[in-house]
Amino acid sequence: MAQRLPILLFALVMAAIPFVPGIPPFWIVLLDNIGLAALVAMGLVILTGVGGLTSFGQAAFCGFGAYTTAILTTSYGLSPWLSLPAALVVSGIAAVILGLMTVRLSGHYLPLGTIAWGISLFYLFSKLELTGRNDGISSIPPLAIGAFEMRNPNAIYFAIWLAVVLAALITVNLLDSRMGRAIRALRRGHIAAESFGVQTAQAKLLVFIYAAVLAGLSGWLYAHFQRAVNPTPFGPHAGIEYLFVAVLGGAGHVWGAVLGAGIVTMLKEALQSYLPLLFKNETQFEIVVFGILLVALLQLAPNGLWPRLLALLPFKPRGPQPQTAPALPARAHDTASTGPLLRIEKARKQFGGVVAVNDVSFEVGTREIVALIGPNGAGKSTTFNLVTGVLTTTSGRISILGQDTTDTPPQKVVRLGVARTFQHVKLVPDMTVLENVAIGAHLRGHAGAIASMLRLDRGDEAKLLAEAARQIARVGLTDQMHQLAGSLSLGQQRIVEIARALCADPILLLLDEPAAGLRHQEKQQLAGLLRQLRDGGMSVLLVEHDMGFVMNLAERIVVLDFGTRIAEGTPETVRSNPDVIRAYLGGAA
């Protein structure tokens, strides 16, 4: 509720503005334009700020929305209300096609790709007979409800801002959900999210389509606001400006889109009105000053203005709260099978000429704690990555409960009940501990994006958060549950990763250096927890450098050196093995 109250308040204020006596009609026009830009920027907030996908091409999606309704209402006499779904669907389909081609691109290729198709589509709009070439399409009918026609800026104002408020509500709902957490995890790399079953490619495509549909909605409104369309507002410069709006407002914050749209629209207006006074005949300083301001703002506030405003608030906005909810169904444990839980046979991984893992074989049984040790660079983490499907094997075979999982993608491995932590912590720093841990339960929830937007996911969501809270309590971090993950100490972040892994209800837990950065007391607690998990039926495979910790905890130890298994056995036998001593202490020992 805490996130929805401001939206209600905002809606009331916006609804009241046109009724303020003596408000200049020109302000309403300005507000109309702000609303239109805010809609597009809101899509970019999700796409770029949250999902980490930069697009310079959003203006082209506005174009799809605007031209669709322009053509359908003028050439085919369709009602604007009927062309609305068509406009959204056309923008969405365009996004699917372009998204399939571009969202898989990593790094800077994606923004460059969006510039390319942004320009390409702009020229297409300005050359096609269907879209009226450079002249565009005019005499588009106004929006109308019965006899009430929204011909003036005052009337369409309500349609525009209703759309903005609804979009904000839906966006906030989406972000605060199972799919929302998956989207928010994208920006920090794929591996952690995929290890808990998130289909990252699908999640990226989803935000891409969502942003395009919002832009299409803005285009549809624009067409009926201006009652005419031409290619200029859908060109590459407009696309750049939308991204600027989102970055200025604070990409990553829904309200940053509205703030950014307000500032940029008013700034442009002010530049257009006042600059000619400063520079007598030079009319084109507007764009120069605009460019300079853009650069200056990036240097002064690279994270945008909204976070700065938030920091001024006397209270901090709270993240989602767990409520009591029925427990999630536990995994059906396969108690009948007697074979090993995990079997690695001659697994090999080569990076070019380097053999990181050299035909390593070992097994992990049920209810067993096995440690994988070895000097730095011995191939321990690489072995983890092979087991969890993050890396593909060069040769060899890996199976879980008798099922071959060699080169199975991480999303499938976690379904079999294998959950892991990472040597380099992979949490989303600007999400709370609770939200981070809930990502672990991704596969145990079912609510999709649309259900989340419409808030139909609450039952599912409550169960997930309750489960996350339970696992946080289990690892003893209840007091930190509502803090941002990035604010915790590194040792605590490792424990959060364990809670996240437990949330997946695993039968095999892979822990990569869980005790690093913990104090003695905390290590004792961790060892206690792991024993308790084992007694509850879970197996643990851990990589650890703290020998005291390992020797006291593990039932069996596998030693790797330069990618090769050099010893395996109980802690006592491994401790006295001459090869192990040589690997750790050097040849002279």
Partner: protein, 346 residues
């Protein structure tokens, strides 16, 4: 198809492609050293072309004044950034590079601007006027945010592009300009008449490709510049002056842009906003080359030029659509070839 038309289109495509190759090289160079995606490369083209055209009619171009203004702003930035450790030597160095140099250039331009000047002199003077603009831009815009993400740098580039394009309009007006060719000679090869101008374009492009390739692949300093892009901190720790290498890259990019502009302004009318589109075609080539390979970029650029020449003959309305859509299959291939190897780029 008529063989003559085919040959003409090929020749046209190769000539344009050579220009795109030059620009693509500049983009790769800047990206390799600074991680900046240099959208304003096109403005260097415009500035070079229009500065040359203005000098040809004996006018002192506005870009010379822009150099002075940017230089003074850069000087202020430099002195402010080093305010706690100023020495006479550093202040003198900054004053010479950021104030003395552009003022001297403006003075020279003022003194020798004359419609009777030989094209070669104007060519050199144009380069000297435009080149420092690149250096100062790096100092003012990019050096303070050199550690920022590629995205932030990219958006900053967009801001620079907007500002420079607006300034282009202020300096040179909305009408397009043409300049005199640097050389009037021509070679006849069968049905084709190859102008000295085109030959010059080929020669300069080839020389630059080979030079850059050798510089970055073979020399220690070139390798040091590449190291800067990969890891700024590491490069600084081993003694590479990262801000200097960034300034150098931008200086080179400005020179490359200006040379391209001067080479095409006798053939094509250049408007204040023409550069943007030309620069973006250089981009298409640079991206096809993966933003790393100079030879691949050059080959891709020639391909872009040829595709453009043919599409302007057969479907002139859709020329730009075809050229920019060309990028999409390339990007798809790239993404299929290298699936999701990213991690933690923030």
């Amino acid at each position: 198809m008529d063989t003559t038309i085919l040959l003409f289109l090929l020749q046209d495509g190769i000539t344009n492609g050579a220009i795109y190759a030059l620009l693509g090289l500049g983009l790769v160079l800047v990206f390799a050293v600074t991680r900046v995606i240099l959208i304003p490369q096109g403005e260097f083209v415009t500035f070079g072309a229009l500065t040359y055209a203005a000098l040809a009619v004996g006018k002192v171009p506005g870009t010379a004044r822009l150099g002075v203004i940017l230089g003074l702003v850069a000087l202020a930035f430099d002195l402010f950034a080093a305010r706690n450790k100023l020495t006479v030597r550093t202040v003198a160095r900054s004053a010479v590079v950021y104030a003395g140099l552009p003022l001297a250039i403006l003075g020279i331009a003022d003194a020798i601007a004359n419609p009777q000047n030989p094209p070669a002199l104007n060519f050199l003077l144009s380069l000297v006027i435009v080149a420092p603009i690149g250096l100062y831009l790096y100092r003012i815009v990019y050096q303070p945010i050199a550690h920022a993400s590629v995205l932030v740098l990219l958006i900053a580039s967009v801001g620079v592009h907007l500002a420079l394009q607006g300034l282009g309009l202020v300096f040179f007006g909305p009408e397009g300009l043409r300049g005199p060719p640097i050389s009037e000679t021509a070679v006849t090869l069968g049905v084709l008449r190859i102008s000295g101008q085109s030959l010059g374009i080929y020669a300069i492009t080839l020389t630059l490709i080979v030079a850059l390739w050798l510089f970055f692949g073979r020399t220690l300093y070139g390798k040091a510049l590449r190291a800067t892009a990969v890891n700024r901190l590491g490069a600084r720790l081993v003694g590479i002056r990262t801000s200097l290498s960034g300034q150098l890259a931008f200086l080179l990019a400005a020179v490359i842009g200006a040379v391209s502009g001067i080479l095409i302004v006798p053939v094509t009318t250049i408007y204040y906003d023409t550069g943007f589109l030309i620069g973006l075609k250089g981009f298409v080539a640079a991206i096809i080359g993966g933003l790393v390979s100079y030879p691949l970029t050059a080959i891709a650029a020639v391909l872009v030029g040829i595709v453009e020449a043919f599409s302007s003959f057969y479907a002139s309305n859709y020329k730009e659509v075809i050229v920019f859509t060309l990028l999409l299959p390339v990007l798809v291939l790239r993404s299929l070839a290298a699936p999701a190897v990213e991690e933690d780029h923030e």
